[in-house]
């Protein structure tokens, strides 16, 4: 998957407080709900500043 979005998430703030972080998670949820099987690690690379928090968040999302 080619990066289509540049990270605009503020790494200094709390990720959950950042609308861009929410958008990234919701976009991933949309892919899951559409029956696609996105590569989480590749997806997370689009957001290097918050990669750890985003990876955890998406892993949690995949569990539910």
């Amino acid at each position: 998957m080619k990066p289509t979005t540049q990270s605009t998430i503020d790494p200094a703030g709390e990720p959950a407080d950042d609308p861009a972080f929410l958008s990234a998670v919701q976009e991933y949820l949309g892919l899951l709900e559409a029956g696609k099987a996105p590569d989480r690690r590749e997806y997370v690379r689009r957001f290097p500043d918050v990669a750890d928090a985003l990876d955890k968040c998406l892993a949690g999302l995949e569990a539910v």
Partner: protein, 185 residues
């Protein structure tokens, strides 16, 4: 295997999750899922001689049947004592068939092999353990959003918060869930 050996913490957590889903959000404030699970195990203990299965999966299935009856009785009793329709009060939150169906997707009894069922059941039990370890509001937002399938506006209404607030709570809950899964796995 004895009943006590089978009454693992994980099984209790799984049944508690099912009970919460079946009771519904607002009624949970008045009815305790833990009490219903405890009553389920007491009833299972009393009638253990009637259990004809052999596997852990059959035992959990048997417990689920007892749990469903306990939930129905408890809700009926609550409706009787309150003299009003709790389901109407629940609005979009309480949906008995849908809520139990969501967690049952992990079991998918009719469409998968016994080994696949075992894997799905194990996932459901792990998830129940991880959810149980979360703070209540985290567990609640994940349950409402993913198992009861509510939209964020409906989750916000159910929890008495703003949409923005529940979305932030949801993100934090997902991160904590991953940590929690890492502990129980």
């Amino acid at each position: 295997m004895t009943l006590s050996a089978r009454s693992s913490t994980s099984t209790r957590n799984y049944l508690r999750l099912l009970a919460r889903l079946e009771i519904g959000h607002r009624v949970q404030a008045k009815l305790d899922a833990s009490d219903i699970v405890q009553e389920t195990f007491l009833e299972a203990h009393r009638h253990f001689g009637q259990f004809n299965g052999k596997s852990e999966g059959e035992f959990v299935q048997w417990l689920r049947m007892i749990l469903a009856a306990r939930v129905a009785n408890t809700l009926r009793h609550y409706l009787g004592t309150q003299g009003r329709d709790v389901r109407r009060e629940e609005g979009p939150v309480l949906n008995l068939d849908h809520s139990s169906m969501q967690i049952d997707q992990f079991l998918a009894a009719s469409i998968s092999s016994p080994s696949q069922q075992a894997v799905r059941r194990e996932r459901a039990v792990l998830l129940a353990d991880a959810l149980e370890a979360l703070p209540k509001d985290y567990r609640e937002v994940l349950t409402l959003r993913h198992f009861q399938g509510l939209s964020f506006p409906d989750v916000a209404q159910a929890m008495g918060r703003s949409v923005d607030s529940v979305q932030k709570l949801w993100l934090r809950a997902l991160i904590r869930l991953k940590d929690s899964l890492g502990v129980v796995e």
